[in-house]
């Protein structure tokens, strides 16, 4: 088990390094004009521009830049932000934002887990009856209709009918984060309901459930003690990943409601050539993704002792 964990972690580090190297090289392919604001582009002469680029080390040969970057990484030095917040260390820029994203994300995750699983259970109990059909229709709607459209509908309903604020404001974070949370939760409720229903129905068709019925167990006990517990194992596998990914925030929702979170930071930092922030974000996203999958496997193993990791041979 320990050997397997170490092997897998080492592999992940290599993957993260490859990813960040690729992104590093891609970023260096961008025209250097992006380094300046439009105002600076107009004002500066070529020499001034070159001076600035030279000072930032952007005119060195690519391998030199790459090795300097690796060297800094070894010291856990991610550099400073340049355009988003001039001169502020990257960790601080990200730190301020990810708290906001995470608060929204975790709240919506908790809500959707409770509601989603409950809806899934109810759908299973009322299979092929009205409630089940309504639930399925909801799932289809959320999955098929583009997020932008359904968010717009939520926004119209929320602000016109319920009078909720349509934009996030940091002075009034309570009410103004209701709509973003609803939008985030809407998608994941459908996800949890869909899979809970499917796994529970699979489980219901198994022989041991028949035995439990014959034994005279009440339907409620069977549902909670056996069916739900077994059906929850595959769902639990994705929980750590979804929890970790809340740190990353949702680009569309955050842009849509002007939440100053992590999502918009990614596109902003790329288009404004803030390379240090992009690299830090990429490392963050990639390691969170990989860590999430790993923790999911571990969690699944804890919940269901029949599953052992090492025998899977590391090929996912």
């Amino acid at each position: 088990m320990i050997k397997y964990t170490i092997k897998r972690l080492l592999q992940s580090i290599v993957t993260v390094l490859i990813i960040v190297t690729i992104v590093f090289l891609l970023l260096r392919m961008l025209p250097t004009d992006y380094y300046f604001t439009e105002e600076q582009l107009m004002k500066f002469t070529e020499e001034q521009k070159n001076e600035q680029l030279l000072a930032a080390g952007l005119l060195d040969p690519i391998p030199v830049q790459l090795f300097r970057f690796y060297g800094d990484l070894l010291h856990f030095d991610l550099g400073e932000s340049r355009r988003i917040q001039n001169g502020v260390p990257v960790e601080e820029v990200i730190g301020g934002k990810f708290a906001i994203s995470m608060r929204l994300g975790l709240t919506s995750l908790a809500i959707s887990l409770v509601i989603g699983v409950a809806v899934g259970i109810l759908q299973t109990r009322h299979k092929d009856r009205l409630f089940d059909h309504i639930g399925t229709a909801y799932t289809i709607f959320v999955n098929a209709v583009p997020g932008l459209v359904s968010y717009s509908l939520v926004l119209i309903f929320g602000s016109r009918v319920l009078g909720l604020p349509s934009m996030y404001s940091s002075r009034n974070p309570g009410p103004s984060s209701i709509l973003p949370i609803v939008c985030l939760a809407m998608t994941s409720i459908a996800y949890y309901a869909l899979w809970t229903r499917r796994y529970m129905i699979d489980e219901l068709n198994k022989d041991y459930i028949k035995l439990a019925r014959v034994k005279g167990m009440s339907t409620k006990t069977i549902m909670v003690r056996h069916v739900l517990r077994n059906a929850f194992v595959p769902i639990a596998q994705y929980l750590p990943a979804s929890m970790l990914l809340t740190i990353g925030g949702s680009l569309l929702v955050e842009r849509f409601f002007s939440v100053p979170g992590m999502g918009p930071l990614l596109t902003d930092s790329i288009s404004r050539y803030d390379t240090n922030i992009v690299q830090a974000l990429v490392i963050l996203y990639a390691s969170l993704g990989i860590l999430g999958v790993f923790l999911g496997d571990v969690l699944m193993m804890i919940i269901d002792p029949r599953i052992t990791l090492a025998s899977k041979g590391g090929s996912r």
Binding site: V145, P146, G147, V149, S152, R160, F256, L266
Partner: protein, 316 residues
């Protein structure tokens, strides 16, 4: 009782006649068992049994045809739209059937033009994704030596938000319909390839393939004749689901300013333009939202129905 005995007696009398030699007839000797089972015929028969799916497909084709008619009968031509702020925000009336947008352009032709763009993009991307995904998936699953390489490649692309690559592409190469389609295909094959790969792994070492290999069947023939037919229902499902996915992705990207260029109206661009106004002028949201939801939900349902129909286990 007596009647029955009589019948039995008669039977016994005729017994000798029952055991006479049959004369040799060449036609009878050539006769073989025949059933008029044809795979695709059964698929369509099964599909036609699902009334809701059939109705939806008719609606979809109707919509596509109508989008051409709508552009033709509209009072304004998209290419000749002019900005006229005195005509901004006119609610739908007999002159402007869908009203006008914030700078006084006819909304009817914009909406239909945008739906055409979105459908076209979605179809192209779905087919491209499918072709690339199946090819890579087959190689990934069948050729053991490539497994490691493709798994790494998958991890590298999958663990970084697609938005990052999309932003870089938009900045490096530019924004146009072709670039958008190609880059969506380049990052969209992952899911299809992984699905195909897992199934190919499942079928690769079955007895019938072992037999085929022993008889010297070339690999491409094994893949096409023995393995791919087993995957049809999964492939069709992914193909159909990727259409709502692409439309959603396109709208997100265009909303973020990373998608199509601003002069090609697409759904995302319409919604982006409408974002600041649709709270006061809901028709700006309603028309594109209804059309796009119709398209995506239809494809979602047709895809599910067709993939059920194409699973040979559901055939007679």
């Amino acid at each position: 009782m007596e009647d029955q005995n009589k019948v039995l007696d008669q039977k016994l009398e005729n017994e000798d006649e029952l055991f006479t030699f049959v004369e040799y007839s060449p036609e009878a000797a050539e006769m073989i068992g025949y059933s008029d089972y044809s795979y695709w015929k059964s698929v369509f028969q099964n599909f036609l049994k699902k009334k809701s799916a059939v109705v939806l497909s008719i609606i979809f084709f109707g919509l596509v045809i109508f989008s051409f008619i709508a552009l033709a009968i509209g009072k304004y031509n998209y290419a000749e739209l002019v900005t006229d702020s005195s005509k901004a925000f006119i609610s739908p009336n007999s002159e402007y059937w869908f009203g006008t947008d914030n700078i006084g352009r006819d909304y009817w032709c914009q909406v239909w033009y945008a739906s055409q763009t979105s459908i076209k993009l979605a179809l192209i991307v779905a087919i491209g994704e499918c072709a690339l995904g199946i090819t890579i998936g087959c190689l990934w699953g069948y050729v053991r030596k490539l497994d490691r390489f493709f798994t790494e490649l998958y991890n590298i692309i999958h663990n970084v938000p697609t938005i990052l690559y999309m932003t870089l592409i938009a900045l490096l190469i530019g924004q146009s319909f072709t670039i958008m389609a190609v880059s969506l295909i380049c990052f969209g094959w992952l899911v299809m390839a992984r699905n195909v790969r897992n199934l190919v792994l499942m079928y690769r070492d079955r007895e019938f393939n072992l037999a085929s290999r022993t008889l010297g069947t070339p690999i491409h023939r094994i893949l096409i004749k023995n393995i791919l037919p087993q995957l049809i229902s999964v492939i069709i499902l992914r193909l159909a689901l990727s259409i709502p996915g692409t439309i959603g992705m396109e709208s997100t990207l265009s909303y973020l300013g990373l998608g199509l260029d601003i002069n090609t109206p697409s759904l995302g661009i319409l919604l982006r333009n409408a974002r600041s106004y649709f709270l006061d002028y809901p028709y700006l949201l309603v028309f594109p939202a209804v059309i796009v939801s119709l398209i995506t939900v239809t494809f979602y349902l047709i895809g599910n129905a067709f993939s059920d129909a194409s699973d040979p286990r559901n055939h007679v």
